[in-house]
Symmetry: C2
Subunit: 283 residues, 2 copies
């Protein structure tokens, strides 16, 4: 097969990922970015923002499960959750599978992303009308600055890449606002890009979280086929204590199915490759 | 960036991976396949066989380490090792880092692959002249049929995809010959393709190993950026007993450096995604 105009391609840093397309289903320019939806041949539907892959039907489960269940099953009793970004609503759906959660607030800048997701990825949005869910469309930086102190148990930073305005979401100042909004024992988790391509960024995130005063910081990693390098990470930090044991029995007995996450994966996902440990140690 | 004629692309099953190329360094048709070497922009050198990615400078360390160290550090005292395939010699190099290894025999069908590797990937071939190494260029099926019973501790199946002739390397008959060639406590490990794209194949490998009479079978997984889906697996099987504990202290004190593998990764790499567990259970 040849990569031609029948493929969607994302290429940067000398590496390209392509998905074969059967048709383009939608295109719009929101106030913030160009949103496109394609029907792929083997990955279901694909959403891109400014030409970068955000979500496909086939592989989004890994990312959404790994952005939510490791922190939620680590916390002893997560009640109040905030999701920054997350416009496709897949993370919100995973969060609301936890019976302990009383409130999940999603703060996404671009309402168009969520409206397009509701139309083209209805299964990711199936919990949007859950009475525990609140969907806000505004600047998360300002929202976090004004958040009530010690009002949240978990903050999930389901953001785009640290480019342009989104850079501020990877800074000590923003992490300090997150820390102040967390209750004792609270945790933040940030998507932290590719271990292969972005180890310096992952190091920087550790530094910024450390400067913000988090007590323990831990990167986890997982395959993510359609993101650059096919390998992705998230970095978790806990406000004022070590992560300690996770709720293993709750994972084993969880009343919902997962496709990637399970108790063994929970234990395994924080085992870091030697080159990444070396990069973090050198920082 | 656009994927054009300045990129090498591999595309199948609706998914493509591309590497930006600065020049083609070599091309030859061996008796078995077309061997090409490219200089890439960001992945160092690239070797392809019949248009399929075999090895790049940048990411081969993950594959070669994970095909060798998990089995070798699981075995209490690996002395005699056979590598089937492995023509780029990167696995052989990792195996010979183990001081316990007295003999490592590589049985590669296509001598041209190794000669090209020696020229273009000299660092992968740096142990080819180790007095413990024997490089054979012949059919591994026949070699294994004729192998002395109970003469090997570890067999590494560093093969191409199960297509054409190579299919026989994924069969009960071949696995039975491997089992007979292994000493008590001996282990085989086979590269077993992508967890995302090939879960049926991984299931089949478990079945064939089971039919051949192996006592315990375990799949491990790891990122492999330039292989289809960017995510790869290997399946290990032990002749007549459970894997048991690995030599953790030997890993911690190993006298050589690794870039991916370490003791935490050893424990973690066998934690399987739920969808793969479900597929194996259903088999």
């Amino acid at each position: 097969m040849t990569i031609d105009e029948n493929w969607y391609s994302e290429a940067a840093r000398g590496f390209g990922m392509s998905l074969e397309i059967s048709e383009k289903l939608h295109e719009e320019q929101s106030p913030y970015q160009k949103i496109e939806i394609y029907q792929t041949k083997t990955f279901g539907r694909l959403m891109t923002l400014d030409g970068l892959t955000m979500v496909t039907d086939r592989d989004n489960f890994v990312y959404h499960e790994m952005m939510s269940h490791p922190v939620l099953f680590n916390h002893p009793n997560p009640k109040d959750v905030a999701i920054v970004g997350g416009g496709d609503c897949g993370t919100l759906r995973e969060v609301l599978k936890h019976g302990s959660v009383k409130s999940a607030i999603q703060i996404e800048l671009d309402e168009c992303v969520t409206r397009v997701a509701e139309e083209f990825f209805p299964e990711l949005c199936e919990s949007n009308s859950d009475p525990r869910a609140t969907l806000l469309f505004e600047d998360a930086i300002a929202w976090m600055q004004n958040a009530k102190p010690k009002s949240l148990d978990i903050i999930i930073l389901d953001t785009t890449d640290p480019v342009g305005q989104a850079k501020r979401l990877f800074s000590e100042a923003f992490y300090t606002d997150c820390l102040n909004a967390l209750r004792e024992g609270g945790m933040v988790v940030a998507q932290s890009e590719s271990p292969m391509f972005d180890k310096e960024l992952i190091s920087d995130i550790h530094s910024e979280l450390n400067k913000a005063g988090f007590a323990e910081i831990q990167t986890i990693h997982f395959p993510q086929i359609t993101y650059p390098s096919g390998w992705w990470s998230a970095t978790m930090a806990r406000r004022d204590q070590k992560f300690g044991d996770f709720r293993e029995q709750s994972v084993i007995r969880k009343p919902f199915a997962t496709k990637y996450y399970n108790a063994d994966i929970h234990r395994a996902c924080s085992a870091l490759p030697q080159f990444l440990l070396d990069a973090l140690d050198a920082n």
